[in-house]
C-alpha cells in the first residue's frame, strides 16, 4: 500500500528518535496482534481490493482537486488548488482511516469498537463504519468538546454509538485519548481501538498514515493531469497530524514540493496559549509515543488552547517530529483570529465552508502566496467541511439562533 522509499518506522516503531511503544504492559500483546495482522494484510490483494472498493463506493473517492479561481484572484501570485476531502462521506478525511481500520478489526474478529474524538469528525467516521458492520461502538470525547461540537455528538448517537463525555484534565482531546486507552486496557480481549490520528504507540502512526496516504497518491496523479507537474507547495493543518501525513507521505521523496504543516497558534505562539508543539514544544512521551510535546520543565503536559477542537492537542504524530527535524517539512502556526478570518473569506469567495481546523491551512496562504511567483501551484488539503463549527463561529460573531 505504501509506495515510498522513506520506509519508516523501523521495526521498533521509530521514525528517527520519535515514535516507539510507550504503553502499559497489558497493551503490548494487543499492539503485537495488530502489527502482525496489519503486516499480513497490507500487501494482501484481497484486502487492498476491499479497502479501495470501500473508498470508492462508500466514501466517494477519489476526491477532486479543485481549482480555486477566486482565492487565486485574491492573492494574484500563483494558482490555488483544493484537495476536496470535505466532500468525502461524513465530511472529512477521517473516514479514510476508519474504513481501513474497521477492516482490520473485522479480520481480527473484534466485536467492540472504541475511539477518541476531538472535533467529533473521527467519532462520526468511526460510528459510521461500526454501524455499517453492526459492531458495538463507544466514543470518548472531552466534555468541553461535547459542548462545542454538539452537532457531531448527536450524529454519533444517531449512528448508534455511545458517547462518553470525559471530565478529567482539560476535558479535551488528550483526556479523551487517556480514557479510551483505559477502556482498551480493561476490555482488551474483544475490543479494537481505532485511533484517529497518526499518534499513539506503534503501529498506529504507520497504519493511520498508510490508510490516509490515498489522499497524497491521488494528488500526485491529479497534479500530473491538471497542471502537468508536481505542486510547488502543499499546505495542511496539523493537530495530531493525520490529514497532513496522508497528503505529505507520498510527497516526501518529491523534493520540489514544499510540505507545510500549520499548527493551531491559539492566542499566538508567543503567549504560550496555543496548541503548536512543533513550533513551541520539546520532545517528550505522551500517549504511547515520543514526539514534540507541550510540556513544562517538570515533564507535565500543558493545557492547550485553540478555537478548533480538532487541533486542540498538546502532542503531534511522531513522523511529523521527524520530518521537522530532518528539515523535509516546515511547520508554522496560525492564530485563532486569522483562522476565523480565513473561514469567512473561503466561505464567501469559494462557496466552500471549511472546518475551523482546515481554516488554519487557508490562513497561511496570506504569507505564503507573497513568497511564490505567479506560476506556482499550491495545494491546500481541505481536510473537512465546516458545518460542525457553525455554533462556534456564531458564538464568536455574537449571533444567537
Amino acid at each position: 500500500m505504501t509506495s515510498n522509499k522513506f520506509n519508516y518506522p523501523d521495526k521498533e516503531g521509530f521514525f528517527g528518535e520519535f515514535g516507539g511503544k510507550f504503553v502499559p504492559e497489558t497493551l503490548m500483546y494487543a499492539l503485537e496482534e495488530l502489527e502482525n495482522t496489519y503486516s499480513k494484510l497490507k500487501d494482501d490483494k484481497d484486502f487492498i481490493k476491499e479497502f479501495y472498493s470501500d473508498l470508492s463506493a462508500f466514501v466517494g473517492r477519489p476526491s477532486p482537486l479543485y481549482f480555486a479561481q477566486r482565492l487565486t484572484d485574491k492573492y494574484k501570485s500563483g494558482n490555488i488548488w483544493l484537495k476536496r476531502e470535505d466532500l468525502n462521506h461524513t465530511g472529512a478525511h477521517k473516514i479514510n482511516n476508519t474504513v481501513g481500520q474497521i477492516l482490520l478489526a473485522k479480520h481480527m474478529g473484534k466485536k467492540r469498537i472504541i475511539a477518541e474524538t476531538g472535533a467529533g469528525q473521527h467519532g462520526v467516521a468511526t460510528a459510521t463504519v461500526a454501524a455499517r458492520l453492526g459492531l458495538e461502538c463507544h466514543i470518548y470525547m472531552g466534555s468541553e468538546d461535547v459542548r462545542r461540537q454538539s452537532l457531531n455528538v448527536y450524529r454519533i448517537k444517531l449512528l448508534g454509538a455511545q458517547v462518553h463525555a470525559v471530565d478529567s484534565g482539560s476535558a479535551t482531546l488528550k483526556d479523551a485519548l487517556n480514557e479510551a486507552m483505559r477502556d482498551w486496557v480493561s476490555n482488551i480481549d474483544d475490543t479494537y481501538y481505532i485511533i484517529g490520528s497518526v499518534t499513539g504507540p506503534h503501529p498506529y502512526p504507520m497504519i493511520v498514515r498508510d490508510f490516509n496516504s490515498v489522499v497524497g497518491q491521488e494528488v500526485i496523479k491529479q497534479s500530473n493531469d491538471l497542471f502537468n507537474k508536481m505542486p510547488d507547495a502543499i499546505v495542511a493543518c496539523v493537530g495530531g497530524g493525520s490529514n497532513a501525513m496522508g497528503i505529505f507521505y507520498p510527497f516526501i521523496e518529491v523534493q520540489e514540493t514544499r510540505l507545510i504543516g500549520v499548527e493551531a497558534g491559539g492566542k499566538g505562539v508567543s503567549t504560550g496559549e496555543h496548541a503548536a508543539p512543533l513550533n513551541d514544544g520539546t520532545p517528550g512521551v505522551l500517549h504511547g509515543a515520543r514526539s514534540y510535546l507541550m510540556q513544562d520543565e517538570a515533564g507535565q503536559v500543558k493545557d492547550t488552547k485553540s478555537v478548533s477542537a480538532g487541533l486542540d492537542y498538546p502532542g503531534v504524530g511522531p513522523e511529523h517530529s521527524w520530518l521537522k527535524d530532518i528539515g523535509r517539512a516546515e511547520y508554522v502556526a496560525v492564530s485563532d483570529d486569522n483562522a476565523l478570518k480565513a473561514f469567512h473569506v473561503v466561505t464567501e469567495l469559494e462557496g466552500i465552508m471549511p472546518a475551523l481546523e482546515t481554516a488554519h491551512a487557508f490562513a497561511y496562504l496570506e504569507p505564503l502566496m507573497k513568497e511564490l511567483d505567479s506560476s506556482a501551484n499550491v495545494v491546500i488539503n481541505v481536510s473537512g467541511r465546516g458545518d460542525k463549527d457553525i455554533n462556534t463561529v456564531a458564538e464568536i460573531d455574537g449571533i444567537e439562533f
Binding site: F22, P24, E25, K174, A298, Q300
Partner: protein, 261 residues
Amino acid sequence: MNRLTSTLSNLKANNQKALVAYLVAGDPDMDSTLDLMHIFVESGVDVIEIGVPFTDPIAEGPTIQRAHDRALKNNISLKMILSLVDEFRKSNKETPIVLMGYLNTFISHIDLVQATGKDGIDSILVVDIPGELNLETYGISNPNINTISLISPTTKENRVELISKNSTGFIYYVNLRGVTGSSNLNISEIENNISRIKKYTDLPTLAGFGIKTTEDAKTLAKFSDGIIIGSSIVEMINDSSTTKEFGRIGQYIMDMKVAIS
C-alpha cells in the same frame, strides 16, 4: 545489596510475605505524605511505593487519577519528591522506597535521578514502558536504583521470559485487565500466571491491582511473594484530607499485614 533486594530476601528467608503500600506524593500535601509514610512503616508496611503525579496517568482508575490531579494542584514535582525522601531518610534508613510513575516525568529529571545516592529511593517502576526495556535505555543508570517491571495477564510466554531477565527489584504482576482500583480478581488465572513467572525467575513476584479486602490479600499471599495495595489507601487518604487523621489507614494496613502473615 540494594535496600529493596535485601528487604525482600529477608522476608523470603523468614517465610514472610511483603506488604507494599502506595500513596501519591503531595496528596493532600507533602507534610501529610511524610506523616503517612511513617504511619505505613509503623503499621507493618515493608515497602513504600510513591506515586509520582502526572497529568496523563493512563494506567490509573478514577481514584488514583484524582489523587494525581490533587497533587498537581500543589505543583508536586519529582524534585520535591526526592527532597521528601531525603527528609524521610533522616529518621528511616531501612524501608525501601519505590517511585511509580510515567516515563515523561522521569526523563525530564534524569540528572536528579542519576545523582540520587545510597540513602534515597531504591527503585523506579515506570508504568508506560515495555517490560523488556529497562531504565538504562532512557539514560538512567544509577547503581542505587533498580528497575521493577510489570507483567500482566496478557503478557505472552516469550515476553515473560524477557521481562523476568530484565527486572531487578521484583516482578510486579498486574492482577487484572484494567486500570488501578478495578475489581473482579480472577484468582485461578492469577495463580497460574504467577507460577508461570516463577519458572523464569527467582525474583520475588508481587501481586498488585484490584486488591481491596483482607480476603483478597490472604488469598493472593498464598501464591505470591507479597501484595501491593493502592487505590483503597488513596481513597482513605482522600476521605481524611481535611481532618488529617489517618489512624484508620494504619488500622487497615495492620489488618492487611495480619491477613498475609
